[in-house]
Symmetry: C2
Subunit: 337 residues, 2 copies
Amino acid sequence: MTENKRILFKSRPAGWVDASHFEVVVAPVGEPGAGEVLVRNIFMSLDPYMRGRMRDQKSYAPGFELGQVLQAGMVGEVVASNDPSLVEGDLVEGRLGWEAFSVAQVGSVNKVDGNVASLSHYLGVLGMPSMTAWVGLRNIGQPKEGETVYVSAASGAVGQIAGQIAKMQGCHVAGSAGSFEKAAYIMDELGFDAAFNYKEAGSLGDALAQACPQGIDVYFENVGGAMLDAVLLKVNPYARIVACGMISQYNLEKPEGVKNLGTMVGNKVKMQGFIVSDHMDLKPEFMAEMSGWLAKGKIKYREDITQGLENAPAAFIGMLKGENFGKQVVQIGEPPK
Amino acid sequence: MTENKRILFKSRPAGWVDASHFEVVVAPVGEPGAGEVLVRNIFMSLDPYMRGRMRDQKSYAPGFELGQVLQAGMVGEVVASNDPSLVEGDLVEGRLGWEAFSVAQVGSVNKVDGNVASLSHYLGVLGMPSMTAWVGLRNIGQPKEGETVYVSAASGAVGQIAGQIAKMQGCHVAGSAGSFEKAAYIMDELGFDAAFNYKEAGSLGDALAQACPQGIDVYFENVGGAMLDAVLLKVNPYARIVACGMISQYNLEKPEGVKNLGTMVGNKVKMQGFIVSDHMDLKPEFMAEMSGWLAKGKIKYREDITQGLENAPAAFIGMLKGENFGKQVVQIGEPPK
């Protein structure tokens, strides 16, 4: 247990990320100082926004530094503590390193209750991606009963929650994903009213018209580019576009142009970006509501769990290409018994 | 006075509008029926949104019909009335035809007080364009003291008012226009803090950086396309984009692509379209406030008055190309003495 496997950010990608941008190293396990704990990492979250942190430009999350260990949302177990607020055996979540063991300041991690749900769920349905869906709909989308809500990347970590919440609110809910299997999952398992595989749709406009026969009142936007352009031709008056992310653009050296923004004027459309970390005051409300839904079986959640830290780069690259099916997690260690 | 000059919508433009899309005809003056008045038209408003009405697609304003007289905001004098609510000599404004005399239902026109301001002002600073600026800032832009407000098409009918209101609210106000003369007017006469001629700016990004050294908090968007793209790279966190119109795109068969929408997520930007006619409940408040500002000399307003109905098509085409300097009006008849 003195060896720590770590993954460093080796070089900055210009277009698509590949294995050459990562370096796996072995280093000694760190020693926690005063007010610090040593965490044995168990589950790590991979999320599309992390691609943005690989750029050399200011953004809401600080960029990854070259030569340093990458960071991610993590759930782990405290194995040594130099602070009375945490003891050995406590389970915690926080933003830690892509590594087997992390030294963390006690204030940077939060205790989690391992009995509520699978530990990995704290990275998804009870964590940041799910709260992103919940906040985006609550603050921006504000779907009303009978309205049509369309969700892109609808089998992903955020999309599957956004669609299910909208469904509970009495909306016609449509979604798109990158395979027939995912589209079937969205309808058959998650209960969406309509779904399509955008990769095989002859025309996005026709696919949207079929999935959303009454037009689109709320677009939960995870994709950007051509998809956003197609949605802009289907928006109803006073539509809201929840600009959560635009993953189709993250690996392009030059983003695609969106041509149909003019429809926002005549249709009085609102498009608004947001970052979930601005809304942490809502976390208790979110946790209470989502835990309740989960306990009652009202929310389903699919995870795609890759085994082994050394496979995290490939899992991250695959996620950016849409190869995951459900929320992408990497299992680094065994959960406590 | 039995002859009525009228301008018909002859053919639908695909790209730029030209003279061939209009037809000047002479017809008999209409006879007002029950509940109708005959109006002698005096000033006609030409506005960029009218280009949208030339398209064969549903929009917030119904499209112009081929072979029919075009419509516009108008101020005129009642010369015959078949309803007790209006009498000969009353001055009215409403949406009437591109013609010397219009028959109108009494409910479709509003009496105006010819003593408050120049009659043409009811088409501009006391009319729809000015209320558009006022509503857009009030409901969407919501500039706060010390923030930076950037206005494109800033010497136009809407832009000049938007900038002056923002200046009264204690903002750093910058604007752009299509000539050095207009840029000088914006700064020297209207009191903007910075202005530039976008046609001669080597780089829109550099020009914006110089005009808005603290970034952009509110963008009053009249232009779209490349200008919007450049603004998206200068927005501050929580910026608001008031999507009022996108005139640079109106005559393109294929609109330009906007590439930088991704910055809306990280910067939590809101972009919202609106149509002033949704907000007519605010008209009394607007009229009271704007009349007060005008009377106190706090708002300046420049008009570009073309003489003669037969010159309206050329004035409209010129306005779409940015050749007007100030709010574009056509004088059709003489104001009453």
